[in-house]
Chain length 241, copies 2
Amino acid sequence: MSNRSNTQHMLSRAEVPRGLSRDEQIYRDILEAVVEHRLAPGARLPEDSLSDVFGVSRTVIRKVLQRLALEKLVLIRPNRGAQVAQPSAKEAQDVFAARILIEPAMMADVCRRVTDTQLDQLQQVVDEERLAQQTGRQSDAISLSARFHVQLLAIAGNEVITEQVAQLTTRSSLIIAVYGSRNSVGYECGGHGELIGLLRLGDDKGASAWMHRHLSQILESLEFDLGAPGTPDFHTIFQRK
Amino acid sequence: MSNRSNTQHMLSRAEVPRGLSRDEQIYRDILEAVVEHRLAPGARLPEDSLSDVFGVSRTVIRKVLQRLALEKLVLIRPNRGAQVAQPSAKEAQDVFAARILIEPAMMADVCRRVTDTQLDQLQQVVDEERLAQQTGRQSDAISLSARFHVQLLAIAGNEVITEQVAQLTTRSSLIIAVYGSRNSVGYECGGHGELIGLLRLGDDKGASAWMHRHLSQILESLEFDLGAPGTPDFHTIFQRK
DNA sequence: CGCCAGCTTTCTGTATACATTTCTAAAAAC
DNA sequence: GTTTTTAGAAATGTATACAGAAAGCTGGCG
């Protein structure tokens, strides 16, 4: 009892100054695990286990899970706890339709406002992404791919849209975890470098078209007919009658 | 102690069957109050007071406040509690820029998919809105105006976008509470009927252009130079020196 | 008369206890 | 041997206690 209290105090003094509240840190840890496909869609997230792992009470865990639920990365069913979301095919299509509407349309503003420094930073992300891809660190590659899109959109300067796109990219990671084929990730990686070239040339139409194509390709590469994400249908799987 | 417990049990049996959890009901109550400008931007929202009013513990209130904070309707500052958000001018512009990007673009899908029944339902909302406006029920008028946009966008069938627009409309209500002039609400009301006409004709370009104009007018009508939302500047107000 | 120090009050942050629900599995009935 | 029932275990929903931070207030001092 008392040692728990001490632990709490020690943590609060050691971690809060590092700029992130405990909530935020735990949120990011779980978010990262979901985005990087280390937590599979459908995985259960019991509050007690997470409390133990992170060394906080269920109160804090619940707060984090509720936030993740509002962002559609986690599904909370009343009295049944939380699990990593399993986006439906419809949801996947809606998410990409939203991205295809928003992201290409923002390329004009991005092109107009982007600075050389920002282009270099984007290039750096792409390089890291490629490296991660080549060295087989799939998780990092996925994270970096999502970061590329968010960092790109942020250049336009509209924080509301940036935040929306950030959410859509994380949801996309989950969607790729469920419906992605080998190709999906390939598209994510290969292309990003090209876009930087178009931005350097100031070709806003080209950038917009590129983005439209890029997102469409990812959407196309998804395999919605493979295993339904819900309950596995054993009759289909084992071909019994 | 025991009577509190009893109260809890009685409520849970009486209210949950009505389809809404207590959380959800309280969330909607506060949301409605914010959207309808009955809770002014900047108003403090102490957990204890709300607990008393709604007859639940702070646990439930906190959950609701955190949700509202993620939706940017409430600002939670660590150790300082919650208050109704006071969107900045920048935020207001970003919100409307997002709406101007999304909503007109969706009119094509809406036009293609809308049914007569849905048009009648929309007309009903507009009628109620006008009635509320004429009888001076400003609060209801604002609510109905926001509902019109959400219900309209929902016709396109993209749930992701519908939810994003729903959030943007509630944020818009807050923005209008801060920066709105008399005109703002006028635009909201007067025009919605026109759009239904265009939809009946199947004029998707017209509907899109109308929506663009509509949102631009509201944005134009905002008065950003009036009192900064932060701390009131008494020197300016009282013209001392 | 105004200003600041220190106390008091109020409110938030977190942990924890307890009630309720759900899930599991063993036992009983068919 | 299969199904149903029912006790037990485990996990969630909510309330509450307590610690800590911020705001307000009073008394003393300049």
